[in-house]
């Protein structure tokens, strides 16, 4: 189904949802949103083509894509998001890297000393209080 194969894409399921971009004018976009049958993400993104049309982001199953294409909509499929999520799930641990609170997390922001600009380094912990 994917036109542009995602690096992590794999076997498809019937209910897999694909990240797609659908071309439409404001009336068409409004009508599609009104149907309430498509996954529109959260506050969806639309890229303006500056010709009265835009590309609306949606998450559609294969069947929905075929159905909308049959209605005449132009759709670009970018990735199988369901499959990508299954790949990412492998990276989510079921343990506890902070040992119930014995260890504190460290922030990713760079800590900059005013005078030297050096990083303070070292783990956070009670010893630093």
């Amino acid at each position: 189904m994917t036109d542009q194969t995602a690096e992590d894409s794999g076997p498809e399921r019937a209910d897999d949802q694909f990240a797609v971009k659908l071309k439409g004018n404001p009336e068409q976009v409004d009508e599609l949103l009104r149907r309430g049958e498509f996954d529109i993400g959260d506050h969806p993104h639309i890229s303006d083509n500056r010709d009265g049309t835009g590309w609306l982001d949606l998450f559609l199953t294969s069947r929905q894509i075929e159905s909308l294409r049959a209605e005449g909509y132009e759709i670009q499929v970018s990735s199988n998001l369901s499959e990508l999520a299954r790949v990412r799930l492998a990276d989510v641990g079921d343990g506890d890297r902070y040992d119930g609170g014995i260890t504190a997390p460290q922030g990713l922001g760079r800590k900059v000393h005013r005078d030297t600009g050096r990083k303070p380094g070292g783990p956070t912990g009670k010893a630093r209080q």
Partner: protein
């Protein structure tokens, strides 16, 4: 390292509280979730003796599949605490904050993070077995609303707040039903069985109510690269205060652009709200110029995206419903410019830096200046003096010996008697 699971989010907050006991308080949220999970928020407060501090309340994780939100807020708390303790500044890509900025934030504001509003949903989204499709789950895991059907479980917590919750009554039949909310438990935007029916929404309500001096509320979502500000139900207008969510005379007429109704926002308040949204946006974009935009939540490109029962609108209602509590701006960040709820961890780390730069920028913006701090202390001093004088005065001259409005009462009675006599003579 990758996305935090539900257990790790709680452990991270406890760990930060253990590591920085003088700078933090762990706030247990009162309402357990449908699956019995209990959540915490973390308060960062460096100087308990300073009473005039504004609070900033940051929440995330309401939509289960928007994985990175909790990681952003846990990281924010860790960064502020580490930098403060090391007397260091913070750098997020090209955006930097000095050590004085960090000290000001920690000492003169309350920063409250509630990273995981919806732990049941997150556990479900992250708990899929191989081949399942449950990572795309958005709602909470309330089993009752859908009559026990697994596919119809759950409520969209971000349609469950008490802001025009009863969308079928409050909005025009012409308003877009695909974005407003839904009364169908099978819908991804099912609004629940009543305003604040869900424990997750009640926890956010409890948290915000606990901080009467909260000035900014930010709900971190994904995706689209937007910073959204109120209102979400209709166009903003500043000319007619009667056109307000509080006025039932306008029920059935909201949610459509270009008609008679627009949601009232005072002319002086609108620039304050848009300025705060711009502070968030500019902080984010300063990191690596990702092109986030700030806009009113009601609009979507050339069409509309009306919503009911969302957190940022609900937060913003407080200053209208109870002006004595002061101004509270409600905002929503939609992090990630790409069409993806599940970025790689390498991508997510960059987005954590982006959004945390925006949030720290807002904290710095909200930090009272030293002039405000001195004025606040002076004001507090005068209040104490006035209180003592009043106590002394009341002890010396208790109200029962002179009576409320005693002299006035006598003057009014004399006047009444004169007027009565005059009126009787004319009438006779």
């Amino acid at each position: 390292m990758t996305f935090l699971n539900v257990t790790e989010i709680e452990s991270a907050l406890i760990g930060l509280n253990n590591a920085y006991p003088r700078l933090t308080q762990l706030l247990p949220l009162p309402n357990p979730t449908h699956e019995g999970r209990r959540s915490h928020a973390l308060l960062i407060r460096g100087n308990p003796s300073f009473r005039c501090r504004p609070a900033l309340v940051f929440v995330s994780g309401v939509h289960a599949r928007e994985w990175g939100g909790p990681d952003i807020l846990v990281n924010l708390a860790a960064d502020l605490l580490e930098a403060y303790t090391a007397n260091a500044g913070l750098a997020y890509g090209a955006k930097t904050f000095s050590a004085a900025d960090v000290r000001g934030i920690v000492n003169r504001t309350d920063v409250v993070v509630f990273p995981d509003i919806n732990p049941d949903g997150r556990a479900y989204s992250m708990g899929g077995t191989a081949g399942s499709n449950q990572a795309m789950w958005r709602k909470n895991r309330n089993p009752a609303s859908g009559g026990g059907s697994t596919g119809r479980a759950g409520v969209d917590v971000n349609r469950n707040y008490d802001f025009l919750w009863d969308f079928q009554t409050k909005f025009s039949p012409s308003a877009n039903p695909g974005t407003l909310a839904s009364a169908d438990p099978g819908s991804d935007i099912f609004h629940g069985t009543g305003p604040f029916s869900e424990p997750e929404a009640r926890n956010v309500q409890w948290l915000v109510d606990r901080f009467p001096k909260a000035r900014y509320f930010v709900d971190v979502h994904s995706y689209s690269g937007d910073v959204l500000y109120p209102w979400g139900d209709d166009e903003n207008q500043s000319t007619d205060p009667s056109k307000s969510f509080m006025n039932t005379a306008w029920d059935g007429k909201r949610g459509v652009s270009g008609d008679a109704y627009g949601e009232y926002i005072p002319a002086a308040r609108l620039p304050e709200v848009t300025a705060a949204a711009a502070v968030l946006r500019d902080g984010i974009n300063a990191v690596r110029n990702q092109g986030y935009v700030s806009k009113q939540g009601f609009w979507l490109w050339s069409t509309t995206y009306p919503t009911s029962g969302t957190s940022e609108d609900w937060a913003f209602t407080r200053e209208f419903l109870n002006p004595r509590k002061g101004k509270l701006g409600g905002f929503c960040i939609e992090f990630n410019r790409n069409q993806n709820f599940f970025p790689s961890w390498a991508e997510m780390k960059d987005m954590i830096l982006d959004v945390d730069a925006g949030l720290v920028n807002l904290c710095e913006y909200a930090t009272p200046s030293w002039v405000q701090v001195i004025l606040c202390w002076k004001l507090a001093w005068w209040h104490r003096i006035a209180d003592r004088f009043l106590t002394f005065w009341r002890r010396l001259f208790p109200p029962e010996i002179w009576g409320p409005y005693g002299p006035w009462t006598r003057i009014v009675r004399r006047l009444e008697r004169i007027l009565e006599r005059f009126s009787t003579r004319r009438g006779g």
